[in-house]
Amino acid sequence: MTKVQYLDNLKSALASAGIDNPSLYEYYAEMLEDRIEDGMSEEEAVADMESVEKAVEAARLDMPVTTLVYDKIKDSHEKATQKGHGVLWIILAIIGFPVWLPLLASLFVIILSMYIALWAVIFSIYAVELSLGVSALGCMFLPFIGFFQHIPFVTVIGSIGCGLLLGGITILLWKPIIALSIAAIQLFKIPIRGIKKLFVR
């Protein structure tokens, strides 16, 4: 296969997969050019590259789950139509409606609940941080009002001390909280990627 054939195949495969990403195409074209410049012949360079199918499969994993599910259904219908079973496919889809709809609905509910759980975790983490910060400010500044209300001096100093302590904890926790949020998002991506693979292959 020549360089032009490989790139043409890639372009049409990306277009038929619904991937509109010129930078991805340029990336593969650049990889191919660099191989040739490195001393490989066009054929050797193409053979050394990943197959167009693998390149498209990897790119599709970055697409939303809904698009992948829709494409899978559309692809299945097109294949059945090409074999002359288009009507049978529709009949089976209608008959199988009580089975596939709850399955599909439960899949979306699972993803949605995971998404809600993820943001609930992140929100609660930041809520803890915010409450610590507000408490610190409260403890540090409210006693100054107390000066005018004859609050004992020891209580005022104690309150400022607590405020400084809470403020310190708030600052110390800031970086771990960001790291924890990133880790939670990364963790969320693992099952989502697994689900996506079901619809890409």
Binding site: M31, D34, R35, A55, E57, A59, D62
Partner: protein, 107 residues
């Protein structure tokens, strides 16, 4: 190797290669391939992710009559390498503890 674990290692490898100096896609694949397997399709999302996280910057430069993208590490990227090395120190400690425990159990 676990996919998430592998992704973290690849991030570190790419940033470490870029710490030596700017590089381009194919050179990165060749450099990283000398110690861990990586393909074009694996590298692309990693570069995009690192760019989105401001750990590297991209510049297109003319090279032999065409444009080639060059990747440069940023300060955030260098910080990430430091963080990853610290994490690795902890992993090595856990590894040493587990292997020690296992060898003691076997004895």
């Amino acid at each position: 190797m676990d996919a998430q674990f592998r992704r973290g290692i690849l991030d570190a490898c790419i940033l470490a290669v870029l710490e030596r100096g700017e590089s381009y896609g194919y050179q990165l694949v060749k450099d990283v391939n000398s110690f861990i397997d990586i393909t074009e399709s694996t590298l692309y999302p990693i570069l995009k992710r690192l760019e989105a996280a401001n750990m590297l910057t991209v510049n297109s430069k003319e090279h032999n009559g065409r444009l080639r993208k060059y990747y440069q590490i940023t300060d955030a990227g260098r910080e990430r390498i430091t963080e990853l090395l610290k994490e690795w120190e902890e992993i090595i400690k856990v590894y040493q503890y587990i292997t020690k425990e296992r060898s003691e159990d076997n004895d």
